[in-house]
C-alpha cells in the first residue's frame, strides 16, 4: 500500500457518535474520518471524552447514538471481541495485562484472540507458530529477555511496553493507543516514539496522549476534544497555532504529566 492518507477511502468513519451515562454526555455528535495509514492523535484535557471515544470505537461500550464504520461496515453493535478480526486493536490507559501469566503467554493470547479456534484442549503446530510470533513481537517491544517473567514481576515501564506489544502483535490495520507514554521515562518515550514512527505505512494509528512531545511528533493529523465535543482538527502545526486549543488545553494540561 503506497496510497497517501489524503486520497484513500476512510478506514474508520465515525458519524454523530454520542454517548451518555445517565444525564452526563460523555460524547456528543462526534464525526471523524481516518484514512488508511494515517496517524491521528486525539488531544484533550482530562474528562474530554477521549477514552470514552476509544471505548465506543473499540466496542467496549455501545454508543447511545451514531455510527461506527470500519471499511464501510457498520460495527457499532458488533461486540468488542469480534473486532480484532477486522484488524482493530487497542491499548488501555492503565495497563490491562494478565498478571498471572508470563510475557510470552500474554502475547500468545493476543495472537490466539485474533486467529481464532480458542476452545482447544491441545497445543498444536499452530500454537507453536503463535508462540513464535509472540516471541518476535516481544523483541519489537524490547522484552525478548523477559519472555518467561510473570507479568506481575515486570517494572511499570516494561508493563507499558507489553501493553503495546499486546496491541501490535496481531499486526492490526487500525491501532488505537490510549496514552502509551504515560509513566514512561524520557528515554523510554524516545524509544516509543521511534517504534510508532516505524510502524508500517498501512497501519492506521489512533493515539490519545497528554504528552505533546510524543503526540505532535507522531501525529499527521490532530483532533482536539473538549467536554465530549470535537473542537477542531488539523495538522500539528495548525493545532499549535489554534488559539482555542491554547485556551482549553495547553493552558493547563501541559504543565503536569
Amino acid at each position: 500500500m503506497t496510497a497517501t492518507a489524503a486520497d484513500a477511502a476512510p478506514v474508520l468513519r465515525l458519524r454523530g457518535l454520542s454517548m451518555s451515562f445517565g444525564g452526563v454526555h460523555a460524547l456528543s455528535g462526534i464525526d471523524i474520518d481516518v484514512a488508511q495509514g494515517e496517524r491521528l492523535v486525539i488531544l484533550g484535557p482530562n474528562g474530554a471524552g477521549k477514552t470514552t471515544l476509544f471505548n465506543v470505537v473499540a466496542g467496549d461500550l455501545r454508543p447511545t447514538a451514531g455510527t461506527v464504520e470500519i471499511d464501510g461496515l457498520n460495527v457499532e453493535e458488533l461486540p468488542a471481541r469480534r473486532r480484532p478480526q477486522l484488524g482493530m486493536s487497542r491499548t488501555y490507559q492503565r495497563s490491562r495485562l494478565f498478571a498471572g501469566l508470563t510475557v510470552e503467554e500474554n502475547l500468545y493470547l493476543a495472537v490466539l484472540g485474533k486467529e481464532g479456534r480458542r476452545f482447544r484442549l491441545r497445543m498444536g503446530r499452530r500454537d507453536a507458530a503463535y508462540r513464535d510470533r509472540a516471541r518476535r513481537a516481544a523483541a519489537n517491544v524490547w522484552l525478548d529477555g523477559r519472555l518467561d517473567t510473570p507479568t506481575a514481576d515486570l517494572s511499570h515501564g516494561e508493563q507499558r511496553q507489553l501493553e503495546l506489544g499486546l496491541a501490535t502483535v496481531t499486526e492490526p490495520r487500525v491501532l488505537m493507543l490510549d496514552e502509551p507514554a504515560s509513566g514512561l521515562s524520557r528515554g523510554e518515550r524516545e524509544r516509543l516514539t521511534e517504534l510508532l514512527l516505524s510502524l508500517g505505512g498501512d497501519v492506521t494509528l489512533l493515539l490519545i496522549d497528554h504528552d505533546m512531545d510524543v503526540a505532535l511528533r507522531v501525529a499527521e493529523r490532530v483532533v482536539v476534544m473538549h467536554d465530549g465535543v470535537k473542537i477542531t482538527e488539523g495538522t500539528p502545526d495548525e493545532i499549535r497555532a489554534d488559539p482555542r486549543v491554547h485556551d482549553i488545553y495547553l493552558g493547563r494540561g501541559i504543565s503536569h504529566e
Partner: protein, 424 residues
C-alpha cells in the same frame, strides 16, 4: 482482582498466582503430597491388614473423593477467577442421576435398574450438560455476583431434590449399586478397591487440570481471570470461556459425585444442603482456594478432623458443649483472617512444620496414653492441625510484626519517637 484481594495485603505483588516461586513451591508440595498418597496406597496393597482399614477405607477414601469435588472449586477460582458454590450441587446431581439410574427398587427415585456403567455415563453426561446451562446463565456475571448466583443454584438444587419426589424426595436414594469391580460392601475381601479407584481418579483429575491450564483454553481462561475486559478486546468470548470452565468443573465434580455415591451407596438432599455446600467450601479454603493441590489437602484435614476429633477426650467434651460445626466455623474464621492462602500458604511461615510436628507428637502421645491406638491416630492428626493453626497465627502475627513492634516501641520507647523501624 477479587482473588488478589483474598490473598490479603493489598500491597503484595498482585496476582503471583500460578507463577513464579509460589507456583514452583506449590508444584513441589503437590509432588510430595501425591508421593505420600501413593505410598499410603502401595503400603496398603503390600501389607494387607497392617493398616487400620478405617483409615484407608473411610478417611483416605473420603478425603480423596471430596478432594476431587473441591478441586473443581479450586480450578474455577485459581484458573478462572470464579468462586463457585454450585459444585456441591454438581456432584449431587451426578450422584442422584446415578442413583436413579441404577437402583432396582426398594428405594425412592425412578429405580431404572440400569447397568452401573450406564448410570455413571448418564450421571456424568447429565451433570456436564447441566453445568453448561448453568454456566451459561451465570457467565456474564463475575466476582461476588458469581458467588451469589452459584450459591442460589446450590440452595435451589437442594430444595429441588428435597421437593421433587419423583427423583428423590427428602429421604434420598438408597441402595445404589457400584460396578462389580468395586465389589459389594458385604464382600470384605478387598475393601481398598474403592480407595485405589478414588486414588487413580484423583491423580487423573489433578493431571488433567494441570494439563488443561497449559492448553490454549486454559491460558485463555487465566487471561479471563486476570482481565476479562482486555480478553474481550483481544477477541475472546469471555462469557463462553467462563461457561466452558464451569462445564469442565461440573464434569470434575461429577466424577466426585460418582465416587461419592459408590462410597456411600446412597445420596440424600441433606448432603447437598447449605451445610454440604459450606463444607466443600471449607475444604477448599483450608487448602487455599488458589492452589489445586490444596483441594485434597484441605479435604484430608477436614475429613480427618471430622472423624478423629471426637476421639480426643478433652476436645470431645468441649465439642459436646459447643458442637463440631462451631469448631469448623472457628477454623475457617482463623484461616480466612490469619492465613488467606490456606494451609498450603503456610510454607511461608517459618516453623510451621516444627510446630505441627511437635503438636502431632505431643497430642499423639497424650491420645495414645488416654485412648490407645485410636487416640494416637487422632492425636497425631489433631495435633498436627493444631500446630498448623498455631503456625498460622504466628505467621499472621509475624506479618503484622511491624505493627506489633510499633506498638511495643511506643510502649517501651522513652521519648524517642521516630525510632520505630518502618520496614515493609
Amino acid at each position: 482482582m477479587i482473588l488478589t484481594r483474598l490473598r490479603g495485603d493489598p500491597g503484595e505483588t498482585p496476582g503471583g498466582v500460578g507463577s513464579g516461586d509460589y507456583a514452583r513451591n506449590t508444584r513441589k508440595l503437590a509432588a510430595a503430597l501425591f508421593v505420600a498418597l501413593v505410598l499410603v496406597g502401595v503400603f496398603q496393597a503390600i501389607t494387607p491388614g497392617v493398616f487400620r482399614h478405617y483409615f484407608v477405607d473411610v478417611v483416605m477414601t473420603r478425603s480423596l473423593l471430596f478432594g476431587v469435588a473441591a478441586a473443581s472449586i479450586v480450578f474455577l477460582s485459581a484458573f478462572g477467577g470464579m468462586i463457585s458454590l454450585a459444585q456441591t450441587l454438581m456432584y449431587g446431581v451426578c450422584a442422584f442421576t446415578v442413583g436413579n439410574a441404577v437402583t432396582t427398587g426398594g428405594s425412592k427415585g425412578l429405580n431404572l435398574g440400569w447397568n452401573p456403567w450406564v448410570g455413571v455415563a448418564l450421571g456424568i453426561g447429565v451433570t456436564t450438560a447441566l453445568g453448561f446451562v448453568m454456566g451459561l446463565i451465570a457467565s456474564r456475571s463475575s466476582g461476588l455476583y458469581y458467588l451469589m448466583i452459584t450459591l442460589a443454584y446450590g440452595v435451589i438444587g437442594f430444595y429441588f431434590f428435597g421437593q421433587v419426589t419423583v427423583l428423590s424426595g427428602f429421604g434420598g436414594v438408597n441402595q445404589v449399586r457400584a460396578p462389580a469391580f468395586i465389589g459389594e460392601p458385604t464382600d470384605a475381601t478387598n475393601p481398598e478397591r474403592l480407595f485405589f479407584t478414588v486414588l487413580v481418579v484423583s491423580v487423573v483429575v489433578y493431571l488433567l487440570l494441570r494439563y488443561v491450564s497449559r492448553t490454549p483454553f486454559g491460558l485463555a481462561l487465566q487471561g479471563v481471570r486476570d482481565d476479562p475486559v482486555r480478553m474481550n478486546s483481544l477477541g475472546f468470548n469471555v462469557a463462553m470461556h467462563r461457561t466452558w470452565a464451569f462445564t469442565l468443573a461440573a464434569f470434575i465434580a461429577s466424577l466426585g459425585g460418582v465416587l461419592y455415591v459408590w462410597e456411600q451407596r446412597a445420596i440424600s438432599p441433606t448432603t447437598i444442603s447449605l451445610v454440604g455446600i459450606l463444607n466443600l467450601l471449607i475444604m477448599a479454603i483450608i487448602g487455599g482456594v488458589l492452589v489445586l493441590e490444596g483441594a485434597w489437602l484441605g479435604a484430608f484435614i477436614y475429613i480427618a478432623l471430622e472423624n478423629y476429633v471426637r476421639n480426643v477426650v478433652f476436645l470431645n467434651n468441649w465439642i459436646e458443649e459447643a458442637r463440631f460445626r462451631t469448631l469448623a466455623g472457628a477454623i475457617v474464621l482463623v484461616l480466612v483472617l490469619a492465613c488467606p492462602d490456606g494451609v498450603v500458604g503456610l510454607r511461608k511461615v517459618r516453623g510451621a512444620v516444627t510446630l505441627s510436628l511437635i503438636g502431632a507428637a505431643v497430642w499423639g502421645t497424650v491420645g495414645g496414653l488416654q485412648e490407645g491406638d485410636r487416640g494416637a491416630i487422632a492425636g497425631v492428626i489433631v495435633g498436627a492441625v493444631a500446630g498448623i493453626g498455631a503456625a498460622g497465627l504466628v505467621g499472621w502475627l509475624a506479618g503484622h510484626r511491624d505493627t506489633a513492634r510499633g506498638v511495643w516501641s511506643r510502649l517501651l520507647a522513652t521519648g524517642r519517637p521516630g525510632q520505630v523501624p518502618a520496614r515493609n
